[in-house]
């Protein structure tokens, strides 16, 4: 269902990025990278209002011709970005939400690993397989 899933560190560099058409990976790098502008804008807009009860899910960041980009920010300002094909109409907001939740849980597991240094790129197999599952599911 997702064509690209990315985890971005607080300092806005990628911890993990994976896309389905591998030959065009850089395109997704650009897509995700530029989406950070929107993420930052959304965070700063919401942050002023109520920092505590902030909704982690940011919703659709921006649509492009072919893709829809969704964002999610953890309380520690780690960003998740999911890019889905815009032709895929079966995906509702709720599905995206649940994907992010799953991603967040898996990410938490990665962080709980005592051998993981926060700030390093994620190389967890469990995380990888979970991401793969999310990408494969529909496509």
């Amino acid at each position: 269902m997702a064509v690209c899933i990315a985890v971005i560190a607080k300092e806005n560099y990628p911890l993990y990025i994976r896309s389905v058409p591998i030959q065009n990976e850089l395109k997704f790098h650009y897509t995700v990278h530029t989406s950070l502008d929107v993420v930052e804008e959304k965070i700063s807009a919401v942050g002023k209002a109520m920092a505590d009860q902030r909704e982690l899910y940011l919703g659709l960041l921006y649509p492009t011709e072919d893709y829809k980009v969704y964002g999610y920010v953890t309380n520690s300002k780690v960003k998740f970005v999911i890019v889905v094909d815009s032709s895929n109409t079966s995906l509702r907001d709720n599905e995206i939400r649940s994907m992010f939740r799953k991603l967040h849980n898996s990410f938490t597991d990665v962080m709980c690993n005592p051998f993981y240094n926060p700030g390093d790129t994620i190389q967890s197999k469990a995380f990888d397989s979970m991401v793969s599952a999310m990408m494969v599911q529909v496509s």
Partner: protein, 1220 residues
């Protein structure tokens, strides 16, 4: 358009492919667009700089006519453009002017749609040198007027250079100036011109506004609509309404331009209502946009353009005035509400005042955006209105940027991206991307902005462009750097691991490299490529590393990279990129000089060596400063003129062999000649030590700042302070003035042996194999290989701690001769001869004592008549050597080691108090030669003498001879043991020098005793002089032969002994033997017949004659002795073991046969005299015994003290007397 963008987002393939693919795509798209669109009917060139307040401006085109120098034209243009706002005298309204020096007539055709697009004024600038040219110039001016003729309100011609008659004439539309520099009233002229425009504008406004409702209102339309309305029923209500609505909108525009904001709002509102009812969407959109513009002008007097800073203050002021003016102009109008229902359907009321709304007519900021959205959605329905739509988007974004609503602005921009403007020229595409980038930047979306800037950059070099603009591309790419959080200063990357979006950053760097190369600036591409390699190394795959380095090498072959700062034309400075990761240096350590060259400070010259950092000798507060650690001075010193070393631990992170050339040191402080090295590090090497060397040329403190490398043709200076990952134990070291340098060579072969206690490093060492007791000469040649004179030389030696007991001096030499040759010039040499003398313990070990005990020879015993016979009896039977254990014990090779130290100095270093040490280790393997397995003494025939019996064992494999002083050679076969007897005079140890009282008091009595014994043993040994000679070799035993140095084989041919040496008994002698060898303190002298007698002397006497016997006692002991009673016992020895004591008939005493000696005080003597009378001839012995009664006294003294000789007297036949 979006395709293009998508193309640029692709990665992976090289740039050239990307561009060529883009070309293919671009062509396809262009064909498609050609089919779909009627290109000429639409306004094709959008003005991206437009903003909402531009709606209130009037457009004036300023153009050159004929040949006008560009710089002059722009100077004039600038002056004209400074008149951007003119306050109209009577009406207190402001007119805003927008100047363009280039405007497409097609765009002008949209002037009815939005009046600010209409060119209403033309100012032409021309040069006219002479009156002759004037008509031609004038014609040109008129033809230019024709271009915009339909819309122009007024025009002006500025003529420069013309003087004379024509210039004199007064014309309103032409101004003459003598030169470009002399035109003081240009601004004034322009103001007049603007005022005239205003008059026309105002009249038009009034004209349109006061159109009678009954009159037929013309239908305004945009160029592409014209043919749509052909044949339309002009009388229909619908059509009329459309005409009214469009006209209202037009009037609104004019009002806005004429500075009547409130009127404009009202007109716009009405236009919206009218047009909405007839679904005239294009014009409805325009009316809505007009409403928005007017509201923006009201709400944001500061403007939304953001850039025209110069215009802002005046505008703000003007705006306020305009608002005021509007209020004053229509006093009381504010409170009147417009009732939309009041509008008549068939006409526009002439008096707008009745319809005037209050400020509420103005849209709220939120509404502005809503209305913009609506307007844009209406525009979107018309393909040909793409430019209008795009411009509306841009304007809306600017408004949103001011409102700080980035999210919505991004939506507008997103929309703008998709607006298709048909076939755009490459230049227009670039412009479009650039403006998108700018707008994104405006709303704070820096990444998006960078993205579009990059697309614009790529567009500059699209293959469709015949002359790709690599320079522009490069410049635009540089502008994207902040968006990708990339700085081109390598220092920003030195702090820990790189945290950034490496994939996109790398792509950008690749593009920079490529662009700079195509720009024809290889130096720049080398710099960027170096930067890429240095900062992105962790993110490059092995393949990429190879590719990058290959291309870097290609570039550097044309243009080597260096450390200079590259300054770009626009002022950007590119800092040099030192390759501190190629190779990676983990630690840097300054190395001490090799031990033989290390300088030492003379101990006596303290003071200048003491650090005077602090007045306190000790302070518990240690200044812990990490930064200082690097600057910490290192303990050791370097020497001027000598090669010094710094060791770096490096490793190669590349998957291939890394060749580093010209690797040298960067230093400061003293003049330093770095000797660069080239190294080749294997792929993915582990830590690899690299030693960089150099020679300090002056003295002082030197600091090693970093190192210099040349990798892939890029030279880099890596400073250690910029590399926090490098561990170093200090970089500063003192360089002392130069010292001479000695090279040592010896006559003996060098040894690979490290001396056993290897706590000290040695410059060199020699080893030799000797038999115990052998002496070897060692010639040492010292050559001055330095550049300084050798002025002092001292030699000392130290025997390493050894378990072996060593007798005599191991190493001895005479330095006098060598010292006499000083000072030694460079290149000269001096020789020194050292004697190596090995004399270890010759005793046979434990067995020795036992043997002695067995023997039980006692000195107090009776004299053995013929000791020599016994000596020569081989002892092999009694001491069999068959047992292996004892044999190995004897054959054990012992080692002896010593270190010779040559202390030397000279030159400037000596003045500073430094010297150098050269050490020579001497390693000697000692093979046992002979052993004394047993030692004992036998009294000699003389009481003052004694026989020393030594059982000598030959432990070598060779036949050898043993000789003592005055003795014959004794031949000993291998592993043979024989007894040797040496007659020695007893020793008077009292003559040995006494240790002085001071020493006695402080030393251990036990030690003192040992020392005494040692001295005694030495004295004995020196008189014995036992030597051994190996005269032949047993070649059969191969194993042994190998160990014998070659020198000996050479000697084997000659008749000389193969080896000779001494044998020392020092270690063999024990207390008991020593006692026996000692001269007794009581000295007894027996004189017979006036002749001193001893055991071996036969005294003659005549039968019948009285033989006087005198016994003299000299006391050398410390105490008084005596009194003693002596009895003389005569006897006869039959030489068969029978001794006859029954001699009363043969010998008679004259007087008593007992002598009495009184107490003798020390150093005194006492003599007692008696006489004997022999009655028969024969050999008699006299045994002088102590009387039993004196034994009590005598017992206190050792028995050896009473060694009285036994006398041998031969009584001869008395010469027959004549009478007898």
């Amino acid at each position: 358009m979006t395709r293009d963008i998508k193309e640029f987002m692709r990665g992976g393939e090289p740039l050239d492919d990307l561009i060529s693919e883009l070309l293919e795509h671009g062509e396809k798209e262009a064909l498609l667009e050609l089919v779909l669109l009627r290109a000429h009917e639409e306004m094709s060139v959008p003005d991206y700089m437009q903003c909402a307040e531009d709606h209130q401006t009037v457009l004036v085109v300023v153009q050159p006519v004929g040949i006008v120098p560009e710089d002059q034209f722009f100077r004039i243009y600038k002056r004209i453009a400074s008149v951007a706002q003119v306050s109209i005298r009577d009406s207190q309204r402001n007119l805003y002017i927008r100047y363009r020096h280039h405007y497409l007539p097609e765009n002008n055709e949209w002037g009815d749609f939005q009046t600010h697009r209409k060119v209403v004024g033309l100012i032409s600038v021309t040069t006219c040198r002479s009156a002759k040219e004037w008509p031609q110039t004038s014609d040109r001016f008129y033809s230019q007027k024709e271009v915009f003729g339909a819309t122009l309100y007024d025009s002006r011609l500025l003529v420069f250079g013309l003087q004379g008659e024509i210039a004199e004439q007064q014309r309103t539309d032409v101004a003459f100036y003598s030169s470009y520099d002399d035109c003081p009233d240009v601004e004034k002229r322009v103001e007049d011109f603007v005022e005239s425009i205003f008059i026309v504008l105002e009249s038009k406004r009034l004209d349109r506004a006061t159109d009678k409702s009954g009159d037929k209102i013309p239908l305004l339309c945009v160029p592409f609509e014209k043919k749509d309305f052909v044949g339309l029923d002009t009388d229909s209500r619908h059509y009329k309404k459309r005409c009214q609505g469009r006209m209202r909108k037009h009037v609104g525009d004019l009002c806005l331009q004429a500075g009547m904001l409130q009127d404009a709002l009202v007109h716009y509102h009405m236009a919206v209502e009218l047009l909405r009812s007839v679904n005239d969407f294009l014009w409805l959109g325009a009316a809505l946009e007009g409403l928005c513009s007017a509201s923006v002008i009201f709400h944001y007097p500061g403007g939304t353009a953001g850039k025209a800073a110069g215009r802002k203050p005046s505008l703000a002021q003007g705006q306020a005035q305009a608002a005021d003016a509007g209020k004053r102009h229509r006093p009381g109008a504010q409170e009147v509400l417009i009732d939309p229902g009041a509008l008549t359907a068939n006409g526009i009321s002439a008096d707008t005042s009745s319809e005037i709304g209050r400020a509420k007519n103005c849209l709220s900021p939120e509404d502005i955006i809503e209305k913009y959205k609506e307007a844009i959605s209406y525009y979107g329905k018309y393909k040909n209105a793409g430019v209008i739509e795009l411009e509306a988007c841009v304007k809306a974004v600017r408004v949103l940027a001011v409102q700080k609503r980035a999210m919505e602005a991004s939506d507008f921009l997103q929309n703008a991206v998709y607006i298709n403007l048909g076939q755009l020229s490459e230049e227009e595409k670039i412009q479009r991307y650039s403006i998108l980038s700018e707008l994104y930047d405006l709303i704070g979306f820096h990444r998006k902005s960078a993205f579009f800037k990059r697309v614009a950059a790529m567009q500059c070099v699209a293959p469709t462009i015949p002359e790709p603009g690599w320079r522009a591309c490069y410049k635009l790419l540089l502008e994207t750097l902040p968006g990708y959080s990339l700085s081109l200063d390598p220092k920003d990357f030195s702090k820990g691991t790189h945290r950034g979006w490496a994939a996109v950053q790398m792509r950008l760097l690749h593009e920079l490299v490529y662009a700079s190369r195509r720009m024809g600036n290889p130096g720049l591409s080398v710099r960027h490529l170096s930067f890429l390699l240095q900062t992105m190394l962790d993110f490059l795959s092995d393949q990429e590393k190879k590719e990058v380095t290959q291309s870097l090498e290609n570039y550097t072959s044309k243009c080597p990279g260096g450390m200079e700062v590259i300054t770009l034309p626009d002022g950007l400075k590119l800092a040099p990129v030192p390759f501190s990761k190629l190779p990676i240096v983990r630690s840097a350590k300054l190395l001490d000089l090799p031990i033989s060259l290390r300088p030492h400070k003379q101990k006596g010259l303290l003071g200048n060596n003491m650090s005077t950092k602090s007045p306190f000798i000790y302070s518990p507060i240690i200044m812990h400063n990490r930064g200082e650690e690097r600057n910490k001075k290192i303990e050791f010193q370097w020497v001027q003129g000598d090669v010094c070393e710094v060791q770096l631990m490096v490793y190669n992170p590349m998957p291939f062999e890394l060749r580093v050339e010209h690797m040298g040191l960067l230093t400061s402080g003293v003049e330093f000649e770095s000797l660069p090295a080239a190294l080749s590090l294997p792929a993915e090497s582990g830590l690899y030590p690299v030693t960089l060397v150099g020679v300090p040329r002056t003295a002082g403190n030197i600091t090693v700042n970093g190192y210099h490398t040349s990798v892939f043709g890029v030279t880099s200076d890596c400073l250690l302070e910029g590399l926090p990952s490098v561990r170093t134990s200090g970089c500063m070291v003192e360089v002392i003035p130069s010292l001479p340098r000695l090279q040592l060579s010896t006559s003996l072969p060098r040894s690979a042996h490290a001396l056993q206690p290897s706590k000290e490093e040695l410059s060199s060492s020699v080893s030799v194999q000797l038999f115990n007791g052998e002496t070897q000469q060692l010639t040492i040649t010292l050559e001055n290989i330095g550049s300084e004179d050798l002025e002092t030389l001292e030699v000392t030696s130290k025997t390493c701690n050894t378990k072996e007991k060593l007798f005599g001096e191991f190493l001895s030499w005479d330095l006098e001769e060598a010292v006499s040759q000083l000072p030694l010039k460079p290149g000269q040499s001096v020789t020194l001869t050292v004697n190596i003398k090995v004399r270890l313990d010759f005793s046979g070990g434990e067995n020795l004592l036992q043997d002695l005990n067995d023997d039980g020879i006692s000195m107090t015993g009776l004299p053995i008549s013929s000791p020599l016979r016994q000596v020569l009896k081989p002892r092999a039977e009694t001491k069999p050597l068959g047992s292996e254990s004892s044999k190995t014990d004897y054959n054990h090779i012992k080692t002896l080691e010593a270190v010779m130290t040559f202390k030397y100095s000279g030159g400037a270093g000596k003045v500073e108090g430094y010297y150098r040490d050269l050490t020579l280790g001497v390693h000697v393997d000692i093979e046992p030669s002979v052993f004394f397995t047993r030692v004992s003494t036998l009294p000699a025939t003389r009481t003052r003498q004694c026989h020393l019996l030594l059982d000598v064992f030959n432990s070598t494999e060779h036949e050898l001879t043993v000789s003592a002083k005055n003795n014959q050679d004794l031949v000993l076969h291998a592993s043979e043991c024989q007894r040797i007897a040496i007659q020695v005079a007893k020793f008077d140890f009292d003559t040995l020098p006494q240790p002085d009282q001071e020493a006695v008091r402080y030393t251990n009595p036990k030690l003192l005793e040992e020392e005494r014994l040692h001295a005694q043993a030495f004295m004995i040994n020196s008189t014995l002089g036992i030597t051994w000679n190996i005269i032949s070799f047993v070649v059969g035993v191969v194993g042994r032969c190998i160990q014998i140095p070659i020198r000996r084989h050479l000697d084997a041919t000659s008749g000389d002994p193969l080896a000779r040496g001494e044998a020392s008994v020092e270690g063999v002698l024990n207390q008991l033997v020593l006692e026996h060898l000692q001269l007794a303190p009581l000295q007894w002298d027996v004189v017979v017949n006036g002749k001193p007698c001893d055991c071996d002397i036969i005294a003659d006497c005549k039968v019948g004659d009285a033989v006087p016997l005198e016994v003299k006692l000299t006391n050398h002991s410390k105490n008084a002795v005596g009194p003693f009673a002596l009895t003389v016992v005569p006897f006869q020895d039959y030489q068969n073991g029978v001794q006859n004591y029954d001699l009363q008939d043969a010998v008679t005493f004259i007087g008593s046969n007992t002598f009495y000696i009184d107490t003798v005080n020390p150093t005194e003597n006492s003599v007692c005299v008696g006489a004997l009378l022999f009655l028969f001839t024969g050999d008699f012995y006299l045994n002088i015994k102590f009387q039993d009664d004196s034994a009590g006294q005598g017992k206190a003294l050792p028995p050896s003290w009473f060694g009285l000789p036994s006398l041998h007297i031969k009584a001869l036949e008395a010469p027959i007397e004549a009478g007898a």
